[in-house]
Symmetry: D4
Subunit: 147 residues, 8 copies
């Protein structure tokens, strides 16, 4: 039985690809879904589909229509959500996806470096699992799939 995993979090490095590769190497029956990982395409997608908008604000809004469509469809199909926070970005989207998972009753695995313990303490306290690296998140899922 495959599990569907939604990968919320930053799209500025290749952590998703690495996770996919490692899961495959370990033979774990996991299907990963997530946001658009090409940052420019993510910012442009609204105007790409709907045409130029009158202001920057509305350009952002139409991009978000498409990004939120994507997130909502895959989140609703996910069995579990991994949300990764890093030092560099504000990542309110990640917090949003994580909290949507909480309220929808989907188990949340929070990944964050030790430096973020304090600012993420409320989210961490409500997550099902809190770890520091994506590898540990994969270990947790491997444990679910054991035996």
């Amino acid at each position: 039985m495959e599990l569907i995993v939604y990968l919320a979090g930053q799209i500025h490095d290749d952590w998703r690809d690495q996770l996919r590769k490692k899961a495959e190497e370990r033979g774990l029956p996991l299907v990963f879904k997530g946001p658009q990982e090409d940052h420019d395409r993510s910012d442009d997608i609204g105007e790409t589909i709907k045409g130029e908008q009158p202001t920057i604000e509305y350009r952002d809004q139409v991009a978000s229509e498409m990004n939120n469509l994507r997130t909502r469809i895959w989140m609703s199909k996910a069995d579990v959500v991994i949300a990764l926070f890093g030092e560099k970005y504000r990542q309110w989207n990640t917090a949003m996806d994580a909290a949507v998972a909480l309220q929808a009753g989907k188990p949340l695995i929070l990944v964050r470096p030790p430096e973020l313990i304090h600012p993420l303490k409320e989210l961490g306290q409500r997550a099902q699992v809190v770890v520091e690296t994506p590898d540990q998140a994969l270990d947790a899922l491997a444990y679910v799939l054991e035996q």
Copy 2:
């Protein structure tokens, strides 16, 4: 008929008090609830109740037990949620509260300065109302209560 309003967001200035005062001046039947506004008390509350913890991480965790208890009780009673973001803080708690409201089907009023349009674009696109000042949020609630 009174409406219960949960005020998510930063606890570093007195925006909640000002909102309460203005609502009272306008005679609006609004009851405001929110997180602990005394920052030190909010950080200390876990150890105040449960005693000293072995590490900083666990000190944060026990504080969050209490803060999340408070948030969950009042959020579940709220008719509407106002979430205010400012420039200075990371405010993942605010994003968490806002997204819990979204997923729970409670109308969300997002308050954020123009500088935050881009990083908050996905949350903004799913909020019911997006404004720039707490006064505008109050105007929106006054409109709900008209006639």
Copy 3:
């Protein structure tokens, strides 16, 4: 025990006021809520609160933020929804409110003239009660409150 009634439907005549008056005359413990009935205020409210918008489309969007906030808050508190359709207007808002009530499990009373039987047949078939005048809707609620 009071019942809260949401009055969806056109805002171009005074059917809500007449209903309120008749309910009062009959001594029925009903509290009526509904959309903004001042049409111009309803169209202007977005720019009134948020300021001028770059296009007509966005002017409409910000007005709808406020109108939908109002509708969602009162609909979520309503025990029953009355949706009135007339010949003159397209009234997609009325259909939207009626269907939200259906899906939320709130009983829907549909009021429509005989001329609209055919175009409203699917909505009528799923409504709890279908009548032709607001007075009949009030009769139905009076029956609920009997003895």
Copy 4:
């Protein structure tokens, strides 16, 4: 992973067939469902199955029993709903299906020409995506399915 798309909206032209064909040409894993597209069959189906009814109103009602059965079954299986409005018809069914999707938490893609911005402004403000052509709706779904 296939996505199931419910196509709400007018049944007077072949927009669904065109959408199916284009999705196939682009190799998108989409399964489309929707209402009965043969208008006469849709109006006759109640009497076809249940026999002649005493009045026009009841003829319409029994047709709606069957049409609503169809809509409810496929809507409940859909991952996403596209609702298309055109100038010519009143399309309260489309508004009903769209609002059922909203309240059920299913992402809604609203397709409407610019002329309908104003009358559909409240529905548009709550939709996940608003576009002007079915092709743009398909673009949005293609974006969801990317990588």
Copy 5:
């Protein structure tokens, strides 16, 4: 704290009045709601409000619109449901109300004479409490309200 009790079941004798009287004598803070108890009014109410119908079947249908409106409103406000079955009537309405309570997660108290144990065994097995007389149902509620 008052509890709201919905009294489903036959309307051919005065068991509801007796229950109300006994609850009052015992000083129990119970508010009783239920269907229309005047049988003729219950059968006539559709035509009383909507006018004469073309067939007996449709006369029954319009009466049910009103009776179901009443039941749905009070059932949705009830804290607990008492469903009474007797020997004389088929009482499919009672079974319907009882099962709606089951599926809505509302505690159900089933009252039935020993002769009905076998035909009501599946419903009885899913009820929260099964007794043989309305007085025993009242005893059960009094126990809930103790201390």
Copy 6:
């Protein structure tokens, strides 16, 4: 795409087998589930599994544990429920299953002879489709599966 259909109703004739056969003949992708159709096995199953019980009442109760287990599992997987009532039996189980479907938001097809219009009027008014024969119920499902 297959649809799962739960067949509630009497187990004293072979209407389910006939329906299965006809569906197969028409090539309809329907999977039928339902209660135990061997009446004696249904009454004995509790004692068959759990051993002899001290009274008739408890014999019935343990049988119902098993019958309700079966019904709950298959009902929860069903896309649509057909409930058939006949003249001869009290069939409170059928009414229970039908109402569970109503409250769970699953479309209900009610099958009943004209003689039962009056006693089943409230259930009929809330069903999605009401017909007089199982063949008509199959016609309705065939319509859902068309095109």
Copy 7:
């Protein structure tokens, strides 16, 4: 605004009375509900209401009908649940009430002595707050009610 608190847990000492008294002394607007605290009455209540049963097992079952009725009614009205575990008893009821609260989305405050950390570790990890004494639970609620 009063909060309703359900007090799950052992009924063999007077911890609930002490909690009520302390809450009153501190002026906290809390309404406490809970199971029957008179142990013998709790064990006898089924036979008291329904008469003598054929076996000990069925005596226990009928008592549980009444005890579960009580628990379900007050739990469904509670804003927060306190579950207290002690060393002496098995208290599967307490675990049941605690887990019902978890799944219903109601915040759970778990009270348990340090000796029970290991056997209660899974429940503790999902509770909102974990403390060692009822006084600490009251402190947590007082914190919720501050300012």
Copy 8:
């Protein structure tokens, strides 16, 4: 059609293996899921993944993060839950899993020896089926799968 069965309960003997073997011998289309059955691995898993913790309490907590992740994922996919209690262990986890199933509306089969009738009476009264051996639980599922 396969059914997914979650096996809650003690992990100190091989009852799950025996059940799997017997189901296979009988050709029943059942997929069994459950907690980690290697007791030491279950206790160590938190520190195995997250590293050494400062106290025993926190060691237990991190183990529970992983064990609860596993339980929540498989419970949410289960069609039915079997919860087995034995004499030797406190098994609050089993009670927790059983009650989560109750509140989630999933049918629960409770397996317990006669000695535990009294302490488990409230849980037993709310379970769908109560038996004394895992073989009887399998019989009940076989009955569900018959014809």
